[in-house]
Amino acid sequence: MTQAVWDAWVEIATESAAKLGIAQGDVVRVSSPHGTLELPAYVSPTLHPQAVAIPIGHRYAAYHVPRYVAVSPGGANPMALLGPAAEPTSGGVAFLSVRVTLAKTGTRRPLTILQATHDQHQRELAQHVDLRAAREQALRGKHGEEAHVSMYPEKTYPGYRWGLAIDVDACIGCQACAVACQAENNVPVVGKAQAAYGRQLHWLRIERWAEGKADHPTNLFVPMLCQHCEIAPCEPVCPVFAAYRTEEGLNAQVYNRCVGTRYCGNNCPYHVRRFNWFQHEFPAPLEVQLNPDVTVRQLGVMEKCTMCVQRIIAGKDHARDEKRPVKDGDILTACQQTCPTRAITFGNLKDDTSTVATLAHSPRGYYSLEELGTRPSVTYLKKVVREHA
């Protein structure tokens, strides 16, 4: 997962790139016996030095949309590099690998990469636990949870308290959740130039964090979305109560009320609040795809993950019709519904028997940037690793 967007690239191992004098963003000519392609380089610390990789399915000239990418970089179909040779065992086309040579063209085309750095800078955003320690903890239970020190009385929730548990161990970084969220919540597509300048509008993003040795790190994936903090830094700074905490533990954002001071966005330590820098349109046929249950936001408005509040309301209505409280499985958030590895679990944290509450109390559970005392409603579960000193 490179997090490069709106372009194709050729992934080159750090050692090979150093040997060939290729820096990230240098356009490289990739030649095979069957054809050539020119693509910007992506230097990867985890690739095998003798291998290069080109993604399939990016950047076909026919699908260039000027609204999103101003200048078409031209078509780049990696199939052009592959020969018609048949694979001996299956008899199918051998279309996964071919021997290539690389040459620098001397031009540059910087890639648009959404993540500024993959180095965690000791901030423990993606945490992991050794297998043996995890097993021990699972047997003995989490050692006593620290009492939360506060000048104020504990917050109480009259009805439900919604929360998420996200298993870093299960996340494979496929980004299906990000796409599901975008479709469910009418999140506009901003295009290459805006994405390159940190103005993408995804409510949910997948982060890749490097762990371990710098030259050959292990990659951990963290889905990051609004943490729906109990002590939310974004809320008290809003001058007009556009951001406030609901009785069900959601961090609500009232679009009608938002003036666009962006103070909340500055004060969110997770940078999950998204601002509408422009009026984004949904030209035909995209308007047909809009979710009628979700507002389309105007320019100048802050937005963010709502924990699919429209689905929560629908689920509560459904449960009320059946004259019973909401139970696990009544409400699935769009990201949860789409996750192929069931890394995301939604539910009522107040109900100790719910899956999400069980997971939230798991010994593997941790909060992102816990030391800030924001008390998120999203619990992450540490990745279990085989060998770690």
């Binding site: 104020y152 939310a232 008290p236 951001a243 905490r245």
Partner: protein, 170 residues
């Protein structure tokens, strides 16, 4: 209606002559004086303030300021309770931030009340100039207008001239 009082104006070029005139007028029992000066002059004020209370402007300031404090707290506390929205896990009525609003309103209301006090007590705005005013009084001349009973004008004129008035009228 026949006038029961008349007004005599003396124009002075110096502070000390003005003060001398004022002292003499007061000694002779003329207390209904209007003194025009281009700048506030301590010596003149000292003579005049002897039988006058301190300006009541400060009362306006006090009442305005207290109104500001009270309305600052009332506005913030009441409006927070209307919807009772929680932000940042803080109590709905959070006094420390409301102190800022109350402070600002104290100053704002106090200042505006002072302005009102000054305007009301100083009888501003004056739509027509008073008959004894002379444009030189905003430049470099001092004026002493004496309001006295009809017939006493002669002695007043004498005092003013004796003290060193440049000009005495009528």
């Amino acid at each position: 209606m026949p006038a029961t009082t008349e007004t005599v104006l003396g124009v002075f070029a110096y502070v000390d002559t003005t003060v001398r005139a004022l002292e003499e007028l007061r000694a002779k029992g003329y207390h209904d004086l209007t003194v025009y000066t281009p700048v506030p002059v301590h010596e003149i004020e000292d003579v005049l303030e002897r039988d006058r209370p301190v300006s009541r402007v400060r009362l306006f300031t006090l009442i305005g300021g207290l109104t500001g404090t009270v309305s600052g707290f009332l506005l913030t506390i009441w409006s927070a309770l209307v919807w009772g929205l929680t932000t940042g896990g803080k109590p709905v009525v959070s006094i420390p931030p409301f102190v800022v609003i109350a402070f600002e309103l104290t100053i704002l209301f106090g200042g505006l009340a002072t302005l009102i006090g000054m305007v009301v007590l100083g009888r501003l705005p004056r739509l027509t100039p008073s008959p004894t005013f002379d444009p030189r009084f905003t430049n470099d001349r001092f004026g002493v207008a004496v309001h006295c009973a009809t017939g006493r004008g002669g002695s007043v004129r004498e005092i003013l001239r004796g003290a060193g008035a440049e000009e005495v009228r009528p």
